[in-house]
Amino acid sequence: MKVIYNTLFKRTSTYAVAIIASAFFFERAVDVSSNLIFETVNKGKLWKDIKGKYE
C-alpha cells in the first residue's frame, strides 16, 4: 500500500495516468464478463448455437 501511494497516488499526474490505464483493463474485463454471463444465461437460444440446424 505504501509503495502504491508513493509511486501512483501522491502526484495528480501519475494518479490520472493510473486511472486511465486501469480504465482500459476495467472496460475489457466488464465487457468480456458481461458477454460471458449473457451467453451462459441464453445458452441454446443464440444464433451460434442453432446455426447447425440451418446449414
Partner: protein, 230 residues
C-alpha cells in the same frame, strides 16, 4: 462603512470585553468549579478505530497506508465513471455515423461476365442509375484518339477508366439531371433526350447544353470478373 458581519463581530467583541471586565471579581471562583475540563474522561473510541490508528505512536507511520486506501476508493470511482463516460460519448458519436441499412446499400458488386461486349447496363446505386459499359476495342481506340483541346470538360479517356474495357459512370445528365439513353446520340455513347446533350463512349460531354462529363464514381476491380462500386 462596516458590513453586517464585521459589525456583528465588533459588537460581540465589545460585549465579551465588558462581560470579562465585570466577571473578574468572580473569575477565580468559577474557574475552580469548572476545573478547565481536566476532570472529563475522553471516551474510548478503540472499538470504532481502524487497527492502524489504535496505537497512538503508530499513527504517523500508517498515514500513507490510510491515504492509499482513500485514494484507491476515489480512483476506483473515477475508473467506473471513465468507463461510463466513454460509453456515453461512444453512443452519441456513433449516432452520427451512417446506419447499417445505409451502409449496406452504399456498395454494389457486379459480375462482369453478365455484360456482353458493346452493351451498356444500368444498375441502381445510391438511388441513382449507374451505367456500366463493356466497350469494344474500336470504341476504346476512338476515345483515346479524341484530342482533349476539343472538349468542353477536358479529360483523357485514361483518367476516366481503370480498365479500358469497362466504363463506369453515374447515369445522371450534368445539365438538369435527366437519365441519358445508352448507345444513342452523335458520338455513340449516351444521349440525353431532355435537352439534347451528346456524350461519347467515355461519358464525356461533346455536344449540347450539359457543362460537365458524366460523373465517374469510385470503383475498383477486386478480382478478374468482379466490379465493386462505392
Amino acid at each position: 462603512m462596516l458590513n453586517a458581519v464585521s459589525r456583528a463581530y465588533v459588537r460581540g467583541g465589545v460585549q465579551a470585553i465588558s462581560t470579562g471586565l465585570k466577571a473578574t471579581g468572580v473569575a477565580i471562583n468559577s474557574m475552580a468549579n469548572r476545573q478547565g475540563h481536566t476532570d472529563l474522561q475522553v471516551p474510548d473510541f478503540t472499538d470504532y478505530r481502524r487497527d492502524s490508528v489504535k496505537d497512538g505512536r503508530r499513527r504517523n507511520e500508517t498515514a500513507e497506508e490510510r491515504k492509499a486506501f482513500s485514494y484507491l476508493m476515489v480512483g476506483a470511482g473515477a475508473v467506473g465513471s471513465a468507463y461510463a463516460a466513454k460509453g456515453l460519448v461512444n453512443a452519441f458519436v456513433g449516432s452520427m455515423s451512417a446506419s447499417a441499412d445505409v451502409l449496406a446499400m452504399a456498395k454494389i458488386e457486379i459480375k462482369l461476365s453478365d455484360i456482353p461486349e458493346g452493351k451498356s447496363v444500368t444498375f441502381k446505386w445510391r438511388g441513382k442509375p449507374l451505367f456500366i459499359r463493356h466497350r469494344t476495342a474500336g470504341e476504346i481506340d476512338t476515345e483515346r484518339q479524341v484530342p482533349t483541346a476539343s472538349l468542353r470538360d477536358p479529360e483523357t479517356d485514361d483518367q476516366r477508366v481503370i480498365k479500358p474495357e469497362w466504363l463506369v459512370v453515374i447515369g445522371v445528365c450534368t445539365h438538369l439531371g435527366c437519365v441519358p439513353i445508352a448507345n444513342a446520340g452523335d458520338f455513340g455513347g449516351y444521349y440525353c433526350p431532355c435537352h439534347g446533350s451528346h456524350y461519347d463512349a467515355s461519358g464525356r460531354i461533346r455536344k449540347g447544353p450539359a457543362p460537365l462529363n458524366l460523373e465517374v464514381p469510385t470503383h475498383e476491380f477486386p478480382d478478374e470478373g468482379t466490379l465493386v462500386v462505392g
